[in-house]
Symmetry: C2
Amino acid sequence: MGTDRSRLLQGTLDLLILKSLALGEMHGLGISRRIEQLTRGTFQVKPGSLFPALHRMEAAGWLSASWGESSANRKAKYYALTRAGRRQLGSEAAEWRKIVAAMTRALLAT
Amino acid sequence: MGTDRSRLLQGTLDLLILKSLALGEMHGLGISRRIEQLTRGTFQVKPGSLFPALHRMEAAGWLSASWGESSANRKAKYYALTRAGRRQLGSEAAEWRKIVAAMTRALLAT
DNA sequence: TTTCTCATATCGATTGTCTATATGAGAACC
DNA sequence: GGTTCTCATATAGACAATCGATATGAGAAA
C-alpha cells in the first residue's frame, strides 16, 4: 500500500495490455516487457498479475490466443486483439481520459 | 464492470478525499458532495465507499475527526487533515502525476 | 547432466469498492 | 404532537483485481 512504487492502479492493467497488443500480437511475458518499456519502468507487471488478467480478458472475448514459438525458441502463447478487444481499447482509453480530466480539475482546485 | 460510469479507479478515492479536506475541514457527506462538484459529476462517492475509506484513513493517521453540527443542524463528524495527511496528499498527488505521465506515454505509442 | 533461463500457471491472502440495509435524530408537514 | 422526510453515519456481505509465493516444463548454456 501507500508509496509502494510497483503497485499499479487497479483498472489500468487491462488498458495497458490492450494497448500493447494493439501494437502487434505478443506472448505473455513479451506483453509485460512491453508495458515496462512503454511506461519507462513505471509499471512492472508480475506474472501473478499478468496471467490471470490475460485469461480474464480472453474469456471476455477481447483477446484470442494461439501457441507458437518465442524468439528464444520456447513455446509461448501468443495473444492478439479481437475486434471486440479493439472496441474495448477505444472505450477504456476514452474512459481513462475522462478520469484524468476530472482528477486534474479536482487537484487544481483552490 | 466495464463501462459502468459510476465505478471509480481503485486508489483515486483517497486522493480525492485528501484534496477535498485540504480545502477545509468537512463532514463525511460534505466530502462526497465536494468530490462530485470538483469532478463535475464524474465521480459519485456513495456512503458505502466513503465511510470505510474515512475510517481507514483516520486509522492511518491522515485524518482527525471531531463531532460537531452540520449547516442543516444535524450532528456530523468533521474531518480535518493531520500533518501526516498533508504529507500523504503531496506524495499521492506526485504518484498520480507519475502514473498519468506513464499512461499518456504508453497510450500515445505507435 | 546439471544448472540456468524463459514461459505459463495457479493458490491464497489482501485490499478496496459496491450494494444493501440499519439506525438515529432534527426538520417539515398536517 | 405524531407522522414522514431528509441528513448523517455506520456496517455487513459480496465481489473483483492485484500481489506474493510457488510450481511446472522445456530448451539453452555450462
